[in-house]
Symmetry: C2
Subunit: 316 residues, 2 copies
């Protein structure tokens, strides 16, 4: 699976395919944040998608790219939450049934979100193996089409449309920071950014407690996930061979941030931007001051990936 299966052209095609079904989210700048970090920072507000996360882009692109014949038995996926909501919403738009396998420890807000969108939830143990087994059984039993959360060129191309919009809204960025979990967003963004403006750096940021991408970059070879422990529940997934290959080709660096830094960044963004963002959305901002990134005086885009939070369990 060569990286070329996701290209600037496939991302542009995704942008056209999903335009009627997803929001062009606003970009917000804060004078207070700029003054605090000595850079100019623009936040791309994917938390303001209808489902509260960028995942609607990839799921919509994948489901609308499939021929009707492949969708007769609906779609199925596994998700810690936001991809499940995205598949449910995209399937409803396409008029097909969606079954969503979710871990038992998914947040109440994410379960409710999927249910309200008409997704049929099947709970499983909170491990990748359990999820994949449940999905495999559903595919065999029902014939539903599998929409992978990230290891799918159509999903990755859909996520890349975030960067198409961001670079239209704020030209001449020096750097784009985004979180990395399974790598779908980071891959798609990196392909789009490098295709449009090669000199713009793309930095993927990961919780230190779920650092398989960082370890894989250090080793130069895909490393196993280990047992992720982070409040950033959207980033517990592990890179696939496909997303690792795309990231190696197009991402400039992977850096990690600590759990306290994620919680501090999350709170700071709630306070200063007045946006509800989930912990996964805060990791990129948490990395902003890392001296190794040398972002002082730079023009930086940060992707706020989602805002589905359990309001009864805030980390402060």
């Amino acid at each position: 699976m060569p990286p070329a299966e996701v290209t600037l052209e496939s991302i542009r095609a995704a942008g056209e395919r999903i335009a009627a079904h997803v929001r062009r989210t606003p970009v917000i700048e804060s004078e207070a944040i700029n003054a605090g970090c000595g850079a100019r920072v623009w936040f791309k507000c994917e938390n303001l998608q209808e489902i509260g996360a960028f995942k609607i882009r990839g799921a919509t692109n994948a489901i609308f790219a499939l021929p009707a014949g492949a969708l007769a038995a609906g779609v199925v996926t596994h998700s810690s939450g936001n991809h499940g909501a995205a598949v449910a919403q995209a399937a409803r738009r396409r008029g097909v049934r969606a079954r969503i396998v979710m871990p038992e420890n998914a947040s109440a807000a994410k379960l409710a979100n999927v249910r309200s969108l008409g997704g049929e939830i099947e709970l499983c143990a909170p491990s990748l193996a359990a999820r994949e087994a449940a999905v495999a059984r559903l595919i065999i039993d029902t014939g539903a089409a599998f929409i992978h959360p990230y290891d799918d060129p159509a999903v990755i191309a859909g996520q890349g449309t975030v960067a198409l919009e961001l670079l239209e809204q704020v030209p001449e960025l020096d750097c784009v920071l985004c979180p990395v979990g399974g790598g779908g967003l980071a891959s798609g963004i990196a392909v789009a950014v490098k295709g449009l403006r090669a000199q713009t750096r793309v930095i993927a940021v990961e919780p230190a407690g779920a650092d398989d991408a960082w370890r894989s970059f250090q080793a130069g070879a895909l490393q196993p996930a280990g047992a992720p422990t982070t409040i950033a529940d959207g980033l517990r997934g592990a890179l696939s061979a496909r997303t690792f290959a795309l990231m190696r080709a197009h991402v400039d660096a992977v850096v990690t941030v600590s759990e306290p830094a994620i919680a501090r960044a999350m709170r700071a963004l709630w306070q200063q931007l007045r946006l509800v963002i989930e912990p996964s959305s805060a990791v990129a901002y948490a990395a902003l001051g890392d001296p190794a990134l040398a972002l002082r005086g730079r023009r930086v885009g940060i992707v706020l990936t989602g805002g589905n939070v359990d309001l009864d369990a805030l980390p402060w």
Copy 2:
């Protein structure tokens, strides 16, 4: 003081005066909220102003409309918080000193906000009388220009620019709902809306625990404030003769909502819109289902006025 001192023309002039200093805030619609209430609802996100509240509009218009000679000793105001931040920010932009009298029970977030914008805070007892006494002394001692939180035609015209933008962003609204405290926003919005589209209803919504506007409308004469008790700290102010006259001329109705309804609405908007809004911002949405307003099937604009919340003291 005839109502004609605030006109569509003065609001348009305010819009031009403040354009370089305030944000054109986005309008957000939610399919989930529309489905839940059986109407189409657009939220005007004034919480996404740099200072986190619409108050920047009125303060900027008032301070930039004054001649330089009137600003030699800076400006002074009293505020439960957001107007204070607005005056501090607008004064900084104009390059003049700002003194802000704030009640001792103002939230930590609002105090910090004013301070970070360079406002010099003077604390006083939490009553209108104490605030006004402190401001009067500062005016006498320093010669600073007083920027009233709402009883000022320039401030009201500035707040009215919210409606200019909203009706450009979403034409053909059947109704605009906004909160009412001192009446600056409600007056300005009503003048703008009726000037642009007379058939659009304007409904002002007030906490039942701070219902002077409702009682004044019922009595047909300005009623005293009483002792407001509401979590909507931005709405504890009382109408002035000026704002009451403007509201009687241009606002279709005043309705009240209960404290539990405000807290429920606030939480629902955090969850569904992924926006941090303060309790004062939630009162209009809390009124949406009031059968007396007959909003089913209608196109409704709701002004989300601010998002400065003490994240350690959420009402759930």
